[in-house]
Symmetry: C2
Subunit: 333 residues, 2 copies
């Protein structure tokens, strides 16, 4: 470690009741455990094991959380990380930066994120006060692609998002977003140029925090990498709708890039985000339980997995080393 | 960084209204700023600079917080650290582990720490769940030596504590503690063997968290070092009064060891604590503003300064390197 770290990896962890809609998310073995997923992901990133969370998150089919992969890269690269409480619903043993935001309600409520403005401001000030060269921002929030679609609709952007499920439940998400627009008295595009209002009425607390953090850091001259898929691209859209034009990179996985239902390239291009795609080549260990489900299209992204893989690649660490580290973390947890 | 860190440095940061008694503490330039000291210390340890806190803490005479020294050692040694919110009164930009405890009231109130039991339990469970070889525990709480004296009185231990002031206001502390005993309807020693009750009626939230954390970690087989002076020794007394007999080390500075008003050796021996004293040899840079006040008897300890210096010594880092790093951090902040 030397003085101020060059790269800081910030994980915004929170919850939205939208995740409780049946069929929306695979970020937990069952609905009761799903509420613990962000708290557990925060612990895995920080400590490499769970502390207060009851279990290591897996999908209903047993796919382990992408936090395993991000932690494995952190052990190899040694980047500094921190967790921001962006509306956690369950306790975590990880240290968290406070933003004062509560878990989000179902976006089919009129105002699912009533404290979006305060959280955006708190995150902006925090990001603006950091001394680092590069800030990598990640998320963990089950149901987050649906709320991202809601925000894209409010902003008037094409509503195309990825999924943690192998078969993206696009029709279900479209229906939820249509209901959410109706509940908020909105038409598609009504909140263009009003990013905080879009989150307040159609989003989730993690989007408020990620967007505020990115905007604050960019305004302070920090390089910002959005580490994730369509949710992070949506956060990028929020930053653009706030009038911030500085360059930003979206670092994602080959699993998101290969998801034709997601259209990540078009979404990123629309928001003037450079895209970095990293392929961990899980085919080389295709039968390992930490990797097989990704090859089958599960999870795809989350907890900044794509950004972490990009940091490994930048550090000159081969994906064979990354895969070995993943197996080591998986066996440990 | 490799897998699970071998040494984890945990800072319990909190507040007690006892610090507002005039003449009790030097941990802040004035009473209004003193409430921000723990929040700022947490940021300095974590980032090497302040983020949300308004200023870098200094004593009324300008002595910089010992967080500067602990941070300097962290930059040299690279140990992992985390902050526990043990009743912070002001916001911090540092990530914190939650214990649910509130700032403490004046110990002259009947029950200054009503949530001591819950915080002790939360800290115990957290410490018990950590996977580390060694846990170094530190504190930042203005007024903490007075509340420590209160707890020692309740436990029936000799009430001898150090001070952040060059001239320890012992008579004032004795009077405050006598008033506090009376307010709680207690005689000296009434709460021997009842450590949580002693904190609840006579202590501060940081003592509840440090003692719970130490007891939990010890019961999990983790080596525990109490990094500090008489406050940490008092936390050790709480652990002993809870019936925990495992070895513990108290790592402190030569400034505390040289404080005849504190009697740290006797206090530590009474609680079966091994003592490590590290002398940073500030005489070598006696005119530097980061060091001169320590030579004059100010501050003496805090934010685990003695424990950090011991970690530097263990890592084979010379005190000349430590002094240079202190100057570098001081100039930066």
């Amino acid at each position: 470690m030397s003085g101020t770290p060059d790269t800081l990896f910030a994980l915004a962890a929170g919850a939205t009741r939208t995740a409780a809609i049946e069929g929306i998310s695979a970020a937990g073995a069952d609905p009761a455990l799903m509420a613990h997923t962000p708290s557990a992901d925060a612990e895995l990133l920080t400590y490499g094991h769970t502390v207060r969370a009851p279990v290591v998150p897996v999908s209903p089919s047993g796919c382990p959380t992408p936090a395993v992969i991000t932690r494995a890269v952190r052990e190899l690269v040694g980047f500094e990380s921190l967790v921001i409480d962006a509306g956690l619903a369950e306790p975590t043993g990880a240290p968290t930066v406070t933003t004062g935001i509560s878990p989000g309600a179902d976006i089919r409520d009129e105002t699912p994120v009533p404290d979006a403005e305060a959280a955006y401001s708190a995150a902006y000030e925090f990001g603006h006060g950091l001394h680092t060269d590069e800030l990598v921002i990640a998320e963990t929030i089950p149901g987050g692609t649906t709320t991202a679609m809601g925000v894209l609709a409010a902003l008037g952007e094409p509503r195309i998002v990825s999924s943690s499920l192998p078969n993206n439940p696009v029709a279900l998400k479209e229906r939820v977003v249509d209901d959410a627009l109706a509940a908020s008295g909105l038409e598609q595009g009504d909140l263009a140029g009003e990013p905080v209002a879009a989150v307040r009425q159609m989003g989730d607390p993690v989007l408020a925090v990620v967007a505020g953090l990115a905007a604050g850091a960019l305004d302070a001259g920090i390089d910002v990498t959005l580490a994730g898929g369509t949710q992070l691209a949506t956060a990028g859209a929020l930053v653009r709708h706030d009038g911030v034009t500085e360059p930003m990179t979206l670092a994602t996985t080959s699993f998101v890039a290969g998801d034709d239902s997601a259209g990540i390239d078009a979404l990123a291009a629309d928001q003037d985000l450079a895209v970095t795609v990293t392929d961990p080549a899980f085919e080389a260990r295709e039968s390992h339980p930490a990797m097989a489900a990704y090859l089958d299209g599960e999870a795809k992204e989350g907890v900044g997995m794509g950004g972490a893989l990009a940091l490994a690649a930048e550090a000159g660490i081969g994906m064979d080393s990354v895969r070995n580290a993943i197996i080591s973390v998986y066996d440990r947890v």
